[in-house]
């Protein structure tokens, strides 16, 4: 009877693949037995079949009994921090793209329609990227936590001393810190992705604005995977901070590892001479900012030729300061604890 096939299908669809065939056969046998009890000798009507199915209950409920557990991509324990991170990431993507759109419109107001279309397209693509990455990261963290919880319950390894400490105001990471971190990371990534040519010397000439870029956008494109890795590392770290919300030795180690990795990657990128705009000085001259022999010309040229070294040093210094402040904060907590 068709309604029975549909019922069995509805139950087994919600079960793991490798158990389906067996359960299907067993369930069919059961329903046949129950039918026979109601109407002997293959005389069962559709009403009989339906009453049997009603007795067995809703297919979802029966499938749930067979599974014996519920499955989640992101479980109830993780859902709140997941939503928080997701909101922050999506909002900061929105802000960053809007900023880029505004700047582009100011630079070239005549192309506003074009900017607006690319703004909408970027909103969708970057939003999907952000949504995807946050979901993947949270799902992985959730998966690990579930595995840990499962092994802990098997080993019965629960000790009252394992209970997390009530976070006091000092050890707690303020929510604003990771949020600011995520917004900064997203702004940085969006800038690199969509508008690297906006980084440069701006010039207003006869009502037309244009920019002499610092970087060579074509070469920079090849380094996009590095930008992605740095952004993913940054967002991963901040997401973990939102979830843990506490300064611990492990969190400090994570902070340092991610910080060093990101700094090294960025410096590798900047150390490539090809990434810089090769015609920067000439373009400055053509734009009338500089003229050979004028005062300051040599200074600009010499700064430009050493720009890589300077930037690498400055970025390194910032990374160092960041690591020292973070270590200091952690150290002070350890002292008072």
């Amino acid at each position: 009877m068709e309604v029975i096939d549909r019922y069995i299908y509805a139950v087994t669809q919600r079960l793991p693949e490798q158990q389906r065939a067996d359960i299907k056969q067993e369930l069919r046998g059961l329903i046949d037995d129950m039918l026979e009890e109601r109407a002997p000798a293959h005389q069962a009507t559709r009403e009989d079949a339906e009453s049997v199915l009603l007795e067995l209950g809703h297919p979802n409920a029966l499938a749930a009994k067979y599974r014996g557990y519920d499955r989640y991509l992101i479980g109830p324990m993780m859902f709140e921090p997941y939503l928080t991170t997701l909101k922050i990431v999506l909002i900061s993507i929105g802000i960053a793209l809007t900023v880029v759109f505004a700047i582009e419109t100011i630079v070239a107001p005549t192309d506003i329609l074009e900017h607006f279309t690319s703004y909408l397209v970027s909103l969708v693509t970057a939003g999907a990227q952000g949504f995807g990455w946050v979901t993947i990261v949270c799902a992985l963290i959730d998966f690990r936590q579930q595995k840990e919880a499962a092994s802990a319950s098997v080993n019965k390894g629960w000790k009252p001393s394992d209970l997390p400490h009530i976070p006091d105001m000092n050890t707690q990471i303020k929510l604003s810190e990771p949020i600011a971190g995520i917004i900064f990371t997203v702004l940085f990534t969006v800038l690199c992705l969509y508008s690297i040519e906006l980084l440069g010397v701006w010039r207003l000439h006869d009502g037309e604005r244009y920019v002499i870029p610092f970087l060579n956008a074509d070469v920079f494109q090849n380094y996009m995977p590095i930008i992605w890795v740095v952004a993913a590392l940054g967002i991963l770290k901040e997401s973990i901070r939102i979830i843990v919300r506490k300064r611990t030795g492990k969190m400090l180690a994570l902070h340092i590892v991610v910080g060093v990795a990101a700094t090294v990657l960025i410096c590798i990128m900047l150390a490539d001479p090809a990434i810089w705009n090769p015609d920067f000085i000439q373009q400055l001259e053509a734009a009338g900012f500089l003229s050979a022999g004028a005062e300051g010309y040599d200074t600009v040229v010499s700064i430009w030729s050493e720009v890589t070294e300077w930037l690498v040093n400055i970025i390194g210094l910032f990374a160092l300061i960041d690591i020292i402040t973070e270590t200091y904060k952690w150290y002070r907590i350890k002292q008072t604890a």
Partner: protein, 121 residues
């Protein structure tokens, strides 16, 4: 106020859940298929519906308390379940625990009764 019968039924089904496991294990010294267990348990006053029993049988098999075999000789293929040696041990242990539980519960409920003024004195 909540209905007394409704509340009792809700709590009773929680209490029954564990007893069904003992009931099922007790009947499987001989191989049986799922639906044949329903009337057997019903006659003994342990009503269980097939939608609960079948998933339970699979779970007990997964926990290695039961062994199973498909019988395809008959017109209707049926999966027969039988207590495994491990299951037998577990069943005997459970019975012991259950008897202790009965004694404790009896004592608790008698004590409760004894505490009430029965007016015979």
């Amino acid at each position: 106020m909540a209905d007394v019968n409704e509340t009792i039924n809700g709590l009773l089904s929680e209490l029954r859940r564990g007893t069904i496991v003992i009931g099922v294990l007790s009947q499987l010294s001989e191989p049986q298929y799922g639906y044949s267990l329903v009337p057997v348990l019903g006659e003994k006053g342990l009503a269980v519906d097939a939608g609960t029993l079948y998933p339970l049988l699979r779970r007990l098999e997964k926990q290695e308390l039961l062994e199973s075999k498909w019988d395809t000789n008959e017109a209707r293929p049926r999966k027969y379940y039988l207590l495994s040696p491990f299951g037998r041990e577990v069943y005997e242990g459970l019975c012991l625990e259950w008897r202790k539980l009965i004694i404790s519960m009896e004592a608790i409920m008698d004590e409760d009764k004894g505490g009430e003024p029965d007016g015979s004195d």
